[in-house]
Assembly symmetry: C2
Homo-oligomer: 306 residues x 2
Protein backbone atom coordinates (compact mmCIF):
# COMPACT_ATOMS: atom_id res chain seq x y z
CA UNK A 1 0.00 0.00 0.00
CA UNK A 2 1.59 3.24 -1.17
CA UNK A 3 1.02 6.96 -1.01
CA UNK A 4 0.64 8.85 -4.27
CA UNK A 5 2.05 12.40 -4.12
CA UNK A 6 1.21 14.98 -6.77
CA UNK A 7 2.88 18.37 -7.10
CA UNK A 8 5.91 20.24 -8.27
CA UNK A 9 9.44 18.97 -8.64
CA UNK A 10 11.65 21.98 -9.09
CA UNK A 11 14.97 23.69 -8.78
CA UNK A 12 15.18 26.49 -6.23
CA UNK A 13 17.54 29.38 -5.72
CA UNK A 14 17.41 30.40 -2.07
CA UNK A 15 19.03 33.03 0.11
CA UNK A 16 18.67 32.99 3.91
CA UNK A 17 20.72 34.78 6.60
CA UNK A 18 22.87 31.61 6.65
CA UNK A 19 23.86 31.62 3.01
CA UNK A 20 22.86 31.44 -0.61
CA UNK A 21 22.35 28.48 -2.91
CA UNK A 22 21.88 29.28 -6.60
CA UNK A 23 20.27 26.03 -7.67
CA UNK A 24 19.18 23.06 -5.59
CA UNK A 25 16.54 20.34 -5.75
CA UNK A 26 13.15 21.52 -4.50
CA UNK A 27 9.41 21.48 -5.19
CA UNK A 28 6.49 20.45 -3.00
CA UNK A 29 6.24 16.88 -4.32
CA UNK A 30 9.95 16.38 -3.67
CA UNK A 31 9.74 17.39 -0.01
CA UNK A 32 6.44 15.58 0.57
CA UNK A 33 7.74 12.32 -0.95
CA UNK A 34 11.06 12.44 0.84
CA UNK A 35 9.42 13.10 4.22
CA UNK A 36 6.69 10.50 3.66
CA UNK A 37 9.20 7.89 2.52
CA UNK A 38 10.27 7.29 6.13
CA UNK A 39 6.80 5.94 6.88
CA UNK A 40 5.37 4.44 3.68
CA UNK A 41 6.41 3.82 0.05
CA UNK A 42 5.75 6.99 -1.95
CA UNK A 43 4.92 7.28 -5.67
CA UNK A 44 5.51 10.65 -7.23
CA UNK A 45 3.47 12.35 -9.96
CA UNK A 46 5.24 15.39 -11.39
CA UNK A 47 6.98 16.79 -14.42
CA UNK A 48 10.59 17.84 -15.03
CA UNK A 49 12.68 18.95 -18.00
CA UNK A 50 15.67 17.16 -19.44
CA UNK A 51 17.86 19.41 -17.32
CA UNK A 52 16.81 17.32 -14.33
CA UNK A 53 20.01 15.89 -12.91
CA UNK A 54 20.76 12.21 -12.48
CA UNK A 55 21.88 12.82 -8.88
CA UNK A 56 18.44 14.19 -8.08
CA UNK A 57 16.71 11.13 -9.56
CA UNK A 58 19.17 9.10 -7.51
CA UNK A 59 18.34 10.86 -4.25
CA UNK A 60 14.61 10.17 -4.68
CA UNK A 61 15.33 6.59 -5.72
CA UNK A 62 17.57 6.11 -2.68
CA UNK A 63 14.49 6.83 -0.53
CA UNK A 64 12.56 4.26 -2.62
CA UNK A 65 10.31 6.91 -4.15
CA UNK A 66 8.59 5.43 -7.21
CA UNK A 67 9.43 7.65 -10.19
CA UNK A 68 7.26 6.02 -12.86
CA UNK A 69 4.93 9.02 -12.64
CA UNK A 70 7.74 11.56 -12.96
CA UNK A 71 7.33 12.76 -16.52
CA UNK A 72 10.49 14.02 -18.21
CA UNK A 73 9.77 16.39 -21.10
CA UNK A 74 12.44 16.30 -23.80
CA UNK A 75 13.78 19.75 -24.59
CA UNK A 76 11.92 21.22 -21.61
CA UNK A 77 13.33 22.88 -18.54
CA UNK A 78 12.38 22.12 -14.93
CA UNK A 79 10.31 24.59 -12.86
CA UNK A 80 12.63 27.14 -11.26
CA UNK A 81 11.86 29.31 -8.24
CA UNK A 82 14.13 31.87 -6.61
CA UNK A 83 13.50 33.65 -3.32
CA UNK A 84 15.08 35.48 -0.43
CA UNK A 85 14.13 35.23 3.24
CA UNK A 86 13.79 38.03 5.78
CA UNK A 87 16.23 38.27 8.71
CA UNK A 88 13.90 36.31 11.04
CA UNK A 89 12.98 33.93 8.17
CA UNK A 90 9.26 34.40 8.85
CA UNK A 91 8.79 36.09 5.45
CA UNK A 92 10.19 35.58 2.00
CA UNK A 93 10.13 37.47 -1.26
CA UNK A 94 9.97 35.70 -4.61
CA UNK A 95 12.62 36.99 -7.00
CA UNK A 96 11.86 34.75 -9.96
CA UNK A 97 9.37 32.07 -11.00
CA UNK A 98 9.95 30.18 -14.28
CA UNK A 99 7.14 27.64 -14.58
CA UNK A 100 8.80 26.00 -17.63
CA UNK A 101 7.43 22.45 -18.13
CA UNK A 102 5.23 22.87 -15.03
CA UNK A 103 3.02 25.26 -17.03
CA UNK A 104 1.77 22.29 -19.07
CA UNK A 105 1.43 19.87 -16.12
CA UNK A 106 -1.69 17.76 -16.62
CA UNK A 107 -1.12 14.70 -14.51
CA UNK A 108 -2.13 11.31 -15.92
CA UNK A 109 -1.42 8.53 -13.47
CA UNK A 110 0.48 5.39 -14.46
CA UNK A 111 -1.69 2.28 -14.25
CA UNK A 112 0.45 1.06 -11.37
CA UNK A 113 -0.58 4.05 -9.23
CA UNK A 114 -4.34 3.98 -9.74
CA UNK A 115 -5.34 1.37 -7.18
CA UNK A 116 -3.38 2.91 -4.31
CA UNK A 117 -5.40 3.89 -1.22
CA UNK A 118 -3.54 7.08 -0.21
CA UNK A 119 -3.31 10.36 -2.08
CA UNK A 120 -1.77 13.69 -1.21
CA UNK A 121 -2.45 16.53 -3.61
CA UNK A 122 0.21 19.21 -3.39
CA UNK A 123 -0.48 22.83 -4.19
CA UNK A 124 -1.46 22.91 -7.90
CA UNK A 125 -4.52 24.17 -9.79
CA UNK A 126 -7.63 22.79 -8.03
CA UNK A 127 -9.13 21.31 -11.20
CA UNK A 128 -5.95 19.29 -11.73
CA UNK A 129 -6.12 18.07 -8.14
CA UNK A 130 -9.71 17.02 -8.79
CA UNK A 131 -8.82 15.18 -12.01
CA UNK A 132 -6.11 13.19 -10.22
CA UNK A 133 -8.47 12.12 -7.51
CA UNK A 134 -10.95 10.97 -10.18
CA UNK A 135 -8.28 8.62 -11.55
CA UNK A 136 -8.04 6.73 -8.24
CA UNK A 137 -11.17 4.67 -7.51
CA UNK A 138 -9.87 2.84 -4.42
CA UNK A 139 -8.93 5.74 -2.14
CA UNK A 140 -9.11 5.35 1.64
CA UNK A 141 -7.68 8.78 2.48
CA UNK A 142 -7.30 11.89 0.34
CA UNK A 143 -6.00 15.26 1.33
CA UNK A 144 -3.99 18.16 0.14
CA UNK A 145 -2.74 21.64 0.23
CA UNK A 146 -3.61 24.87 -1.54
CA UNK A 147 -2.55 28.53 -1.49
CA UNK A 148 -3.88 32.09 -1.44
CA UNK A 149 -3.83 32.39 -5.26
CA UNK A 150 -6.29 29.49 -5.74
CA UNK A 151 -8.39 30.60 -2.77
CA UNK A 152 -8.80 34.10 -4.16
CA UNK A 153 -8.98 33.57 -7.93
CA UNK A 154 -10.23 29.97 -8.32
CA UNK A 155 -12.57 29.78 -5.36
CA UNK A 156 -15.45 27.85 -6.97
CA UNK A 157 -13.07 25.26 -8.46
CA UNK A 158 -11.27 24.94 -5.15
CA UNK A 159 -14.47 24.44 -3.15
CA UNK A 160 -15.62 21.74 -5.59
CA UNK A 161 -12.24 20.04 -5.22
CA UNK A 162 -11.79 20.02 -1.44
CA UNK A 163 -15.40 18.90 -0.95
CA UNK A 164 -14.13 15.41 -1.80
CA UNK A 165 -11.10 15.47 0.52
CA UNK A 166 -10.71 13.90 3.94
CA UNK A 167 -8.22 16.48 5.11
CA UNK A 168 -6.93 19.89 4.19
CA UNK A 169 -3.56 21.35 5.22
CA UNK A 170 -3.18 25.11 5.04
CA UNK A 171 -1.47 27.89 6.94
CA UNK A 172 -3.20 30.38 9.23
CA UNK A 173 -3.46 33.24 6.75
CA UNK A 174 -4.88 30.88 4.11
CA UNK A 175 -7.42 29.64 6.66
CA UNK A 176 -8.49 33.24 7.22
CA UNK A 177 -8.79 33.84 3.50
CA UNK A 178 -10.72 30.65 2.82
CA UNK A 179 -13.18 31.09 5.69
CA UNK A 180 -13.46 34.87 5.87
CA UNK A 181 -12.89 34.52 9.64
CA UNK A 182 -9.91 36.01 11.47
CA UNK A 183 -10.49 33.95 14.63
CA UNK A 184 -8.79 30.57 14.18
CA UNK A 185 -11.45 28.53 15.95
CA UNK A 186 -14.26 30.06 13.93
CA UNK A 187 -12.22 29.83 10.72
CA UNK A 188 -11.72 26.12 11.35
CA UNK A 189 -15.41 25.53 12.07
CA UNK A 190 -16.31 27.21 8.77
CA UNK A 191 -13.77 25.17 6.76
CA UNK A 192 -14.96 21.90 8.33
CA UNK A 193 -18.34 22.65 6.71
CA UNK A 194 -16.68 22.68 3.26
CA UNK A 195 -16.04 18.93 3.06
CA UNK A 196 -12.88 17.79 4.85
CA UNK A 197 -13.54 16.15 8.22
CA UNK A 198 -10.01 17.02 9.31
CA UNK A 199 -8.18 20.31 9.01
CA UNK A 200 -4.58 21.08 9.90
CA UNK A 201 -3.64 24.72 10.20
CA UNK A 202 0.12 25.27 10.02
CA UNK A 203 1.58 28.21 11.97
CA UNK A 204 5.24 28.11 10.96
CA UNK A 205 7.57 28.30 13.95
CA UNK A 206 4.55 28.21 16.29
CA UNK A 207 3.51 24.70 15.26
CA UNK A 208 0.21 23.42 13.95
CA UNK A 209 -3.34 22.80 15.06
CA UNK A 210 -5.50 19.82 14.11
CA UNK A 211 -9.22 20.55 13.98
CA UNK A 212 -12.17 18.19 13.71
CA UNK A 213 -15.76 18.90 14.65
CA UNK A 214 -15.88 19.43 18.39
CA UNK A 215 -12.16 18.87 19.03
CA UNK A 216 -8.78 20.31 18.35
CA UNK A 217 -5.19 19.38 19.09
CA UNK A 218 -2.34 21.85 19.35
CA UNK A 219 1.22 20.85 18.46
CA UNK A 220 4.02 23.29 19.31
CA UNK A 221 6.75 24.21 16.89
CA UNK A 222 10.05 22.50 17.56
CA UNK A 223 12.60 24.85 19.09
CA UNK A 224 15.47 24.53 16.66
CA UNK A 225 19.01 25.20 17.83
CA UNK A 226 19.58 26.73 14.46
CA UNK A 227 17.20 27.39 11.61
CA UNK A 228 19.19 27.37 8.38
CA UNK A 229 16.57 27.32 5.59
CA UNK A 230 12.78 27.01 6.04
CA UNK A 231 12.20 26.13 2.36
CA UNK A 232 10.10 22.98 2.17
CA UNK A 233 9.24 22.85 5.88
CA UNK A 234 5.48 23.00 5.25
CA UNK A 235 5.72 20.30 2.59
CA UNK A 236 7.89 18.13 4.83
CA UNK A 237 5.21 18.57 7.51
CA UNK A 238 2.63 17.36 4.99
CA UNK A 239 4.79 14.37 4.08
CA UNK A 240 5.28 13.38 7.70
CA UNK A 241 1.59 13.82 8.48
CA UNK A 242 0.14 11.84 5.58
CA UNK A 243 3.05 9.41 5.46
CA UNK A 244 2.48 8.41 9.07
CA UNK A 245 -1.26 7.91 8.51
CA UNK A 246 -0.67 5.86 5.36
CA UNK A 247 1.98 3.78 7.10
CA UNK A 248 -0.48 3.01 9.89
CA UNK A 249 -3.26 2.13 7.46
CA UNK A 250 -5.58 4.89 8.68
CA UNK A 251 -8.50 5.65 6.37
CA UNK A 252 -12.16 6.60 6.30
CA UNK A 253 -14.31 5.89 8.20
CA UNK A 254 -12.20 6.87 11.20
CA UNK A 255 -12.61 5.09 14.52
CA UNK A 256 -11.82 6.85 17.81
CA UNK A 257 -8.41 5.20 17.87
CA UNK A 258 -7.73 6.63 14.41
CA UNK A 259 -8.42 10.12 15.74
CA UNK A 260 -5.66 9.55 18.30
CA UNK A 261 -3.44 8.58 15.34
CA UNK A 262 -4.24 11.91 13.69
CA UNK A 263 -2.71 13.68 16.70
CA UNK A 264 0.45 11.59 16.39
CA UNK A 265 0.50 12.31 12.66
CA UNK A 266 0.60 16.06 13.43
CA UNK A 267 3.59 15.48 15.69
CA UNK A 268 5.36 13.42 13.00
CA UNK A 269 4.59 16.22 10.56
CA UNK A 270 6.15 18.72 12.96
CA UNK A 271 9.17 16.48 13.40
CA UNK A 272 9.75 16.25 9.64
CA UNK A 273 9.23 20.00 9.16
CA UNK A 274 11.75 20.72 11.90
CA UNK A 275 14.43 18.47 10.40
CA UNK A 276 13.93 20.05 7.00
CA UNK A 277 14.94 23.49 8.37
CA UNK A 278 18.28 22.29 9.70
CA UNK A 279 20.04 22.36 6.32
CA UNK A 280 19.54 23.99 2.94
CA UNK A 281 16.90 22.45 0.70
CA UNK A 282 16.54 18.67 0.97
CA UNK A 283 20.04 18.20 2.39
CA UNK A 284 18.87 17.05 5.81
CA UNK A 285 17.08 14.09 4.19
CA UNK A 286 20.37 12.82 2.79
CA UNK A 287 21.48 11.70 6.25
CA UNK A 288 18.29 11.55 8.32
CA UNK A 289 17.46 8.13 9.80
CA UNK A 290 14.23 6.77 11.22
CA UNK A 291 15.89 6.66 14.67
CA UNK A 292 16.42 10.43 14.56
CA UNK A 293 12.73 10.87 13.81
CA UNK A 294 11.59 8.73 16.70
CA UNK A 295 13.98 10.49 19.07
CA UNK A 296 12.58 13.86 18.11
CA UNK A 297 9.01 12.57 18.45
CA UNK A 298 9.95 11.64 22.02
CA UNK A 299 11.33 15.15 22.53
CA UNK A 300 7.93 16.53 21.56
CA UNK A 301 6.33 14.28 24.15
CA UNK A 302 8.81 15.40 26.81
CA UNK A 303 8.31 19.09 26.19
CA UNK A 304 4.48 19.02 26.13
CA UNK A 305 3.56 16.67 28.98
CA UNK A 306 2.29 18.15 32.24
CA UNK B 1 1.42 31.68 53.70
CA UNK B 2 0.76 34.50 51.28
CA UNK B 3 2.11 35.92 48.06
CA UNK B 4 3.33 39.52 48.08
CA UNK B 5 2.74 41.30 44.76
CA UNK B 6 4.48 44.56 43.93
CA UNK B 7 3.66 46.76 40.95
CA UNK B 8 1.30 49.30 39.50
CA UNK B 9 -2.34 49.82 40.31
CA UNK B 10 -3.74 52.06 37.65
CA UNK B 11 -6.60 53.30 35.57
CA UNK B 12 -6.54 52.41 31.89
CA UNK B 13 -8.25 53.83 28.83
CA UNK B 14 -8.38 51.09 26.19
CA UNK B 15 -9.65 50.76 22.64
CA UNK B 16 -9.81 47.39 20.88
CA UNK B 17 -11.75 46.35 17.76
CA UNK B 18 -14.54 45.35 20.18
CA UNK B 19 -15.03 48.74 21.81
CA UNK B 20 -13.60 51.54 23.86
CA UNK B 21 -13.47 52.08 27.62
CA UNK B 22 -12.34 55.52 28.79
CA UNK B 23 -11.36 54.59 32.32
CA UNK B 24 -11.24 51.23 34.01
CA UNK B 25 -9.28 49.55 36.79
CA UNK B 26 -5.91 48.25 35.59
CA UNK B 27 -2.24 47.99 36.47
CA UNK B 28 0.07 44.98 36.67
CA UNK B 29 -0.30 44.43 40.42
CA UNK B 30 -4.08 44.47 40.05
CA UNK B 31 -4.13 41.73 37.43
CA UNK B 32 -1.42 39.67 39.13
CA UNK B 33 -3.19 39.80 42.51
CA UNK B 34 -6.61 39.04 41.10
CA UNK B 35 -5.34 36.06 39.11
CA UNK B 36 -3.19 34.75 41.98
CA UNK B 37 -6.05 35.11 44.46
CA UNK B 38 -7.71 31.97 43.08
CA UNK B 39 -4.74 29.94 44.33
CA UNK B 40 -3.27 31.71 47.37
CA UNK B 41 -3.92 34.77 49.55
CA UNK B 42 -2.32 37.81 47.87
CA UNK B 43 -0.96 40.95 49.53
CA UNK B 44 -0.58 43.95 47.31
CA UNK B 45 2.14 46.63 47.44
CA UNK B 46 1.28 49.62 45.30
CA UNK B 47 0.31 53.27 45.34
CA UNK B 48 -2.87 55.09 44.26
CA UNK B 49 -4.24 58.61 44.46
CA UNK B 50 -7.32 59.70 46.32
CA UNK B 51 -9.24 59.39 43.05
CA UNK B 52 -9.07 55.62 43.53
CA UNK B 53 -12.66 54.46 43.66
CA UNK B 54 -14.25 52.59 46.53
CA UNK B 55 -15.70 50.02 44.11
CA UNK B 56 -12.16 49.18 42.98
CA UNK B 57 -10.98 48.67 46.56
CA UNK B 58 -14.08 46.54 46.99
CA UNK B 59 -13.31 44.34 44.00
CA UNK B 60 -9.82 43.57 45.29
CA UNK B 61 -11.17 43.01 48.81
CA UNK B 62 -13.85 40.66 47.43
CA UNK B 63 -10.99 38.45 46.17
CA UNK B 64 -9.42 38.66 49.67
CA UNK B 65 -6.45 40.68 48.42
CA UNK B 66 -4.72 42.25 51.42
CA UNK B 67 -4.65 46.03 50.84
CA UNK B 68 -2.57 47.10 53.83
CA UNK B 69 0.34 47.77 51.45
CA UNK B 70 -1.78 49.82 49.04
CA UNK B 71 -0.63 53.34 49.80
CA UNK B 72 -3.19 56.08 49.12
CA UNK B 73 -1.58 59.48 48.56
CA UNK B 74 -3.82 62.36 49.62
CA UNK B 75 -4.24 64.90 46.84
CA UNK B 76 -2.52 62.58 44.38
CA UNK B 77 -3.91 60.99 41.24
CA UNK B 78 -3.64 57.34 40.26
CA UNK B 79 -1.36 56.22 37.40
CA UNK B 80 -3.25 56.50 34.11
CA UNK B 81 -2.44 54.71 30.85
CA UNK B 82 -4.28 54.96 27.57
CA UNK B 83 -3.71 52.80 24.50
CA UNK B 84 -5.23 51.48 21.31
CA UNK B 85 -4.84 47.97 19.87
CA UNK B 86 -4.23 46.99 16.25
CA UNK B 87 -6.91 45.11 14.30
CA UNK B 88 -5.43 41.70 15.16
CA UNK B 89 -4.67 42.88 18.74
CA UNK B 90 -1.05 41.68 18.49
CA UNK B 91 0.21 45.27 18.74
CA UNK B 92 -0.79 48.32 20.68
CA UNK B 93 0.11 51.99 20.65
CA UNK B 94 0.33 54.05 23.84
CA UNK B 95 -1.63 57.30 23.54
CA UNK B 96 -1.01 58.63 27.01
CA UNK B 97 0.95 57.79 30.17
CA UNK B 98 0.39 59.88 33.32
CA UNK B 99 2.58 58.38 36.03
CA UNK B 100 1.03 60.63 38.71
CA UNK B 101 1.63 59.13 42.19
CA UNK B 102 3.44 56.17 40.61
CA UNK B 103 6.36 58.49 39.81
CA UNK B 104 7.18 58.62 43.54
CA UNK B 105 6.59 54.92 44.24
CA UNK B 106 9.20 53.68 46.70
CA UNK B 107 7.69 50.61 48.26
CA UNK B 108 8.11 50.05 51.98
CA UNK B 109 6.47 46.83 53.10
CA UNK B 110 4.07 46.68 56.05
CA UNK B 111 5.45 44.60 58.93
CA UNK B 112 2.73 42.03 58.31
CA UNK B 113 4.11 41.32 54.82
CA UNK B 114 7.79 40.90 55.60
CA UNK B 115 7.85 37.28 56.73
CA UNK B 116 5.90 35.94 53.75
CA UNK B 117 7.67 33.28 51.67
CA UNK B 118 6.45 34.26 48.17
CA UNK B 119 7.19 37.43 46.22
CA UNK B 120 6.32 38.54 42.73
CA UNK B 121 7.94 41.74 41.52
CA UNK B 122 5.93 43.37 38.76
CA UNK B 123 7.50 45.53 36.12
CA UNK B 124 8.96 48.56 37.98
CA UNK B 125 12.44 50.07 38.20
CA UNK B 126 14.91 47.24 38.95
CA UNK B 127 16.45 48.98 41.98
CA UNK B 128 12.99 49.22 43.57
CA UNK B 129 12.43 45.52 42.88
CA UNK B 130 15.76 44.81 44.59
CA UNK B 131 14.90 46.94 47.62
CA UNK B 132 11.61 45.11 48.11
CA UNK B 133 13.30 41.75 48.01
CA UNK B 134 15.78 42.99 50.63
CA UNK B 135 12.85 43.70 52.98
CA UNK B 136 11.78 40.04 52.97
CA UNK B 137 14.25 37.78 54.81
CA UNK B 138 12.17 34.57 54.69
CA UNK B 139 11.61 34.13 50.97
CA UNK B 140 11.18 30.66 49.48
CA UNK B 141 10.44 31.80 45.93
CA UNK B 142 11.06 35.16 44.24
CA UNK B 143 10.41 36.12 40.68
CA UNK B 144 9.26 38.91 38.49
CA UNK B 145 8.82 40.69 35.27
CA UNK B 146 10.62 43.48 33.46
CA UNK B 147 10.39 45.32 30.15
CA UNK B 148 12.46 46.61 27.21
CA UNK B 149 13.00 50.06 28.82
CA UNK B 150 14.78 48.61 31.88
CA UNK B 151 16.67 46.09 29.74
CA UNK B 152 18.03 48.79 27.46
CA UNK B 153 18.57 51.76 29.77
CA UNK B 154 19.05 50.18 33.25
CA UNK B 155 20.87 47.03 32.26
CA UNK B 156 23.43 46.90 35.09
CA UNK B 157 20.76 47.54 37.75
CA UNK B 158 18.52 44.93 36.17
CA UNK B 159 21.24 42.26 36.04
CA UNK B 160 22.07 42.90 39.71
CA UNK B 161 18.39 42.55 40.56
CA UNK B 162 17.45 39.38 38.67
CA UNK B 163 20.61 37.64 39.86
CA UNK B 164 18.73 37.08 43.13
CA UNK B 165 15.53 35.76 41.56
CA UNK B 166 14.32 32.19 41.20
CA UNK B 167 12.35 32.90 38.07
CA UNK B 168 11.97 35.54 35.41
CA UNK B 169 8.90 36.05 33.20
CA UNK B 170 9.40 38.00 29.99
CA UNK B 171 8.13 38.00 26.45
CA UNK B 172 10.03 36.76 23.41
CA UNK B 173 11.23 40.16 22.18
CA UNK B 174 12.44 41.06 25.69
CA UNK B 175 14.28 37.74 25.85
CA UNK B 176 16.03 38.65 22.61
CA UNK B 177 16.96 42.07 23.95
CA UNK B 178 18.18 40.77 27.29
CA UNK B 179 20.28 37.95 25.84
CA UNK B 180 21.37 39.44 22.53
CA UNK B 181 20.25 36.18 20.91
CA UNK B 182 17.47 35.92 18.33
CA UNK B 183 17.15 32.14 18.65
CA UNK B 184 14.82 31.36 21.57
CA UNK B 185 16.69 28.32 22.80
CA UNK B 186 20.02 30.13 22.84
CA UNK B 187 18.41 33.24 24.35
CA UNK B 188 17.02 31.13 27.17
CA UNK B 189 20.37 29.43 27.81
CA UNK B 190 22.05 32.84 28.09
CA UNK B 191 19.41 34.21 30.49
CA UNK B 192 19.63 31.11 32.70
CA UNK B 193 23.27 32.09 33.29
CA UNK B 194 22.13 35.44 34.74
CA UNK B 195 20.71 34.07 37.98
CA UNK B 196 17.17 32.70 37.69
CA UNK B 197 16.99 28.90 37.55
CA UNK B 198 13.64 29.14 35.79
CA UNK B 199 12.64 31.29 32.84
CA UNK B 200 9.21 31.67 31.29
CA UNK B 201 9.06 33.28 27.87
CA UNK B 202 5.59 34.52 26.99
CA UNK B 203 4.56 34.49 23.32
CA UNK B 204 1.14 36.12 23.43
CA UNK B 205 -1.47 34.14 21.50
CA UNK B 206 1.13 31.42 20.83
CA UNK B 207 1.49 30.47 24.48
CA UNK B 208 4.57 30.30 26.67
CA UNK B 209 7.72 28.27 27.12
CA UNK B 210 9.28 27.27 30.44
CA UNK B 211 13.05 26.88 30.37
CA UNK B 212 15.41 25.39 32.93
CA UNK B 213 18.92 24.11 32.33
CA UNK B 214 18.64 21.09 30.06
CA UNK B 215 14.85 21.11 29.75
CA UNK B 216 11.98 23.11 28.38
CA UNK B 217 8.21 22.83 28.35
CA UNK B 218 5.97 24.37 25.73
CA UNK B 219 2.42 25.47 26.56
CA UNK B 220 0.16 26.46 23.67
CA UNK B 221 -1.96 29.57 23.69
CA UNK B 222 -5.62 28.94 24.41
CA UNK B 223 -7.77 29.26 21.30
CA UNK B 224 -10.29 31.85 22.38
CA UNK B 225 -13.73 31.92 20.77
CA UNK B 226 -13.48 35.67 21.02
CA UNK B 227 -10.66 37.88 22.15
CA UNK B 228 -12.15 41.13 23.48
CA UNK B 229 -9.26 42.91 25.22
CA UNK B 230 -5.74 41.54 25.77
CA UNK B 231 -4.88 44.19 28.41
CA UNK B 232 -3.52 42.46 31.50
CA UNK B 233 -3.22 39.01 29.91
CA UNK B 234 0.52 38.77 30.57
CA UNK B 235 0.06 39.91 34.17
CA UNK B 236 -2.81 37.47 34.66
CA UNK B 237 -0.49 34.77 33.33
CA UNK B 238 2.07 35.82 35.95
CA UNK B 239 -0.57 35.73 38.69
CA UNK B 240 -1.74 32.26 37.72
CA UNK B 241 1.83 30.98 37.44
CA UNK B 242 3.18 32.25 40.76
CA UNK B 243 -0.17 31.91 42.52
CA UNK B 244 -0.32 28.21 41.70
CA UNK B 245 3.27 27.64 42.89
CA UNK B 246 2.66 29.56 46.13
CA UNK B 247 -0.61 27.70 46.72
CA UNK B 248 1.23 24.39 46.34
CA UNK B 249 4.04 25.48 48.66
CA UNK B 250 6.75 25.15 45.99
CA UNK B 251 10.04 26.85 46.83
CA UNK B 252 13.81 26.51 46.52
CA UNK B 253 15.48 24.09 46.49
CA UNK B 254 13.24 22.41 43.91
CA UNK B 255 12.82 18.66 43.89
CA UNK B 256 11.99 16.78 40.68
CA UNK B 257 8.32 16.74 41.63
CA UNK B 258 8.45 20.52 41.97
CA UNK B 259 9.71 20.81 38.42
CA UNK B 260 6.58 18.96 37.29
CA UNK B 261 4.61 21.55 39.27
CA UNK B 262 6.35 24.32 37.31
CA UNK B 263 4.86 22.85 34.12
CA UNK B 264 1.39 22.89 35.66
CA UNK B 265 1.99 26.45 36.84
CA UNK B 266 2.63 27.50 33.24
CA UNK B 267 -0.69 25.94 32.24
CA UNK B 268 -2.50 27.73 35.08
CA UNK B 269 -0.82 30.94 33.96
CA UNK B 270 -2.09 30.35 30.43
CA UNK B 271 -5.57 29.62 31.76
CA UNK B 272 -5.68 32.90 33.71
CA UNK B 273 -4.29 34.89 30.77
CA UNK B 274 -6.93 33.42 28.48
CA UNK B 275 -9.81 34.28 30.80
CA UNK B 276 -8.51 37.82 31.16
CA UNK B 277 -8.91 38.42 27.39
CA UNK B 278 -12.59 37.47 27.34
CA UNK B 279 -13.82 40.82 28.69
CA UNK B 280 -12.52 44.36 29.01
CA UNK B 281 -10.03 45.02 31.78
CA UNK B 282 -10.56 42.99 34.93
CA UNK B 283 -14.22 42.32 34.20
CA UNK B 284 -13.81 38.59 33.67
CA UNK B 285 -12.51 38.25 37.25
CA UNK B 286 -15.79 39.62 38.61
CA UNK B 287 -17.57 36.37 37.75
CA UNK B 288 -14.78 33.81 37.29
CA UNK B 289 -14.96 30.79 39.62
CA UNK B 290 -12.32 28.21 40.52
CA UNK B 291 -14.41 25.55 38.72
CA UNK B 292 -14.06 27.48 35.46
CA UNK B 293 -10.29 27.51 35.92
CA UNK B 294 -10.06 23.79 36.51
CA UNK B 295 -12.30 23.07 33.52
CA UNK B 296 -10.05 25.11 31.26
CA UNK B 297 -6.94 23.45 32.69
CA UNK B 298 -8.52 20.16 31.63
CA UNK B 299 -9.15 21.61 28.16
CA UNK B 300 -5.42 22.33 27.89
CA UNK B 301 -4.72 18.72 28.79
CA UNK B 302 -7.22 17.47 26.19
CA UNK B 303 -5.83 19.56 23.38
CA UNK B 304 -2.15 18.76 23.97
CA UNK B 305 -2.14 15.01 24.73
CA UNK B 306 -1.02 12.61 22.03
Amino acid sequence: MSLVVVGSVAYDGVETPHGKVDRMLGGAATYISLAASYFVPAKIVAVVGDDFAQEDFDLLASRHVDLEGLDRVPGGRTFFWQGVYSADMNDRATLRTDLNVFAGFNPTLPESYRQEPYLFLGNIQPSLQKSVRAQMPGLKLTGGDTMNYWIQDFRAQLLETIREWDFLLINDSEAGLLSGERNLRRAAAAILEMGPHTLVIKRGEYGAILFRRGMHFVAPGYLLESLIDPTGAGDSFAGGFVGYLAGRGIGAPLADADVAELRRAVIYGSVMGSFCCEKFGVDRFRTLRRDDIDARYQEFANCTTF
